[in-house]
């Protein structure tokens, strides 16, 4: 809020001083190198991709999109991707919430969180290679189940949907868990204690106290986990059936751009991928608006 007299004073100052009042001076200019790089390497390529997708090799400006949505082999990749990403994200989140609530009470979380950060940092390629050994017909997983007489013949868990599902749980669950944990520990324990003092049972405390406070954090966790699962690529190729049920949209985009050398089509599929992901994120963040918004700390006011 600038009062009139203040505005008058500012009006008489040099341009440099006026900019400084608005918060723009030499220090603000330090922003520029980073900003230029991000515009050159992220914003511009994204806009170029949008433009490139509208200049197809042949046909009208929408030919790429028409081609994609008229060929079931192509448009079904959207469902194949969602059919993997949505269940995986829900499973990861549903597992992460109770575990985060337990771990929050632990004194020594460090060892557990360190082990769990391993798959996140090692990445999907390594996990895929490990799972090929581990889940294979001769792998330890099938071997344990056979020895325990829970199954009679080895389960087929690689080169199909379940292999990719497993790899997304192995890398995605720790990610969802660590994110949820950071939100859960941000809630003041005094709130729970006062609820317990007033006689709320554990389930009531969770549903009526924690859940409303957690919804914004869980919405963000859902979105970030979903983005990771939705962009599944190496494990869908290595562990899945890349020509069949796990032909996800990133495989279609890569295939068009770098195997058929049609970068215009590749860009179009990349844009469709971004649009689908944006729709899901928008829906989740829209649902979040229906819930409580406010402080999760226990201070007055």
């Amino acid at each position: 809020m600038t009062s009139l007299s203040h505005a008058g004073v500012v009006g008489r100052l040099s341009l440099r001083r006026r900019l400084a009042v608005a918060g723009i001076d030499g220090t603000t200019l330090l922003l520029l190198p980073g900003l230029i790089v991000i515009f050159a390497l992220f914003v511009y390529p994204f806009l170029f991709g949008l433009y490139d997708s509208l200049v197809p090799k042949e046909g009208a400006w929408y030919a790429n999109y028409q081609k994609f949505f008229s060929d079931p082999f192509e448009y079904n990749t959207i469902w194949a991707t969602l059919w993997l990403a949505v269940p995986v994200t829900i499973v990861n989140l549903l597992l992460a919430i109770p575990v985060a609530f337990r771990v929050r009470l632990m004194r020594r979380q460090r060892l557990l969180t360190t082990i769990l950060v391993l798959p996140v940092t090692l990445g999907t390629v390594l996990v895929a290679e490990g799972l090929l050994n581990f889940l294979g017909p001769q792998g330890w997983f099938n071997r344990v189940l056979l020895t325990a007489h829970m199954i009679h013949a080895p389960l087929r868990l690689t080169n199909n949907y379940w292999g990719v599902f497993a790899s997304l749980v192995i890398t995605g669950f720790p990610f969802s868990f660590l994110l949820t944990l950071s939100y859960v520990t941000g809630i003041d324990p005094a709130i729970e204690q006062s609820a317990a003092t007033l006689g709320a049972k554990a389930w009531q405390r969770f549903v009526r106290i924690f859940l409303p406070l957690l919804v914004p954090g869980l919405a963000v966790t859902f979105c970030l986990s979903f983005v990771q699962a939705f962009s599944v690529f190496p494990s869908a190729v290595l562990l899945g059936a890349p020509a069949g049920p796990t032909r996800v949209i990133s495989i279609a985009a890569y295939h068009a751009a770098f195997e058929q050398y049609d970068h215009s089509m590749g860009a179009a599929i990349a844009m469709i991928m971004a649009a689908v992901q944006l729709v899901v994120v928008a829906v989740v963040l829209g649902l979040r608006q229906l819930f409580y918004r406010g402080s999760a700390s226990g201070t007055k006011g």
Binding site: R102, L116, L122, F173, T185, A202, S231, S250, Y254, Q277
Partner: protein, 280 residues
Amino acid sequence: MIRDRSIGSRLWRFAVWAIVGLFLLNLLGVIASVIVNSFATRWLGTWLPAGFTANWYADAWKGFQLQDVVLVTFEIAFTVVVISALLGVTTAYALARRDFPGKRMVILVFLLPLLVPPLTYGIPLATLLYQLGLGSTFWGVVLVNLVPSVPFVVLVMIPFIEQIDPRIEAAARVFGASTTSLFARILFPLLIPGLLAALLLVLVRTLAMFELTFLVAGPSTQTLVVALYYSVFASGVRAGQSIDAMAVIYMITTLVWLVLALQFVSPTQIVARAKQPSQH
């Protein structure tokens, strides 16, 4: 702390720990099966291999020309780290110290590369780089890796810089410090812990970044993780143990830096801090 001792609560607690236990068991099984296989002579249809040998490491080292791959990987990763440090810290300093019109938009621009799947901007970016003749070159790979790294450094460093009292800088100015010596003798020493954490995490992330590097890398500019992908993709060409030996080498190069990074940050922050800068 609230202690609930009812039967239901105990069962629930048991169920939760059982899930954690099962997950950890499977996770360690996945990692252990890679390590065991890399030392195996023959491993067919038994719990453990018939015998153990370290020969696969020599085989992988020669067969995949890992000497070159490891060298290139570190050259790329360290170049990315140095450039993203220079760009990220200056940008973070401006964002932490100044309020200006459009600041929220600027932060959003730095947030977006971390929020969209890498392939969506990777494919057009790779197309552009190939058109410019930078495809499959060293600098092409460095440039694509800057896209997630620079925003990451910015978002990690903003809270660290905000913690430093601006009056310290003002005091240094009063005593006649120039901008250069202010940065070199006041800010830099205070920022070292945060900076080291951010840069080690960028290093780990660059070593493990598959999608973007994969799109741009050529035969002589592959990083370890891309080389690993190609060898798994073409499995059958070389022995599985050899591929796993390479996987172990990749694991070690990444984990060394992760362990170092964990001296400065908690595991939760690796995932969380960069993702919720709006709360700072």
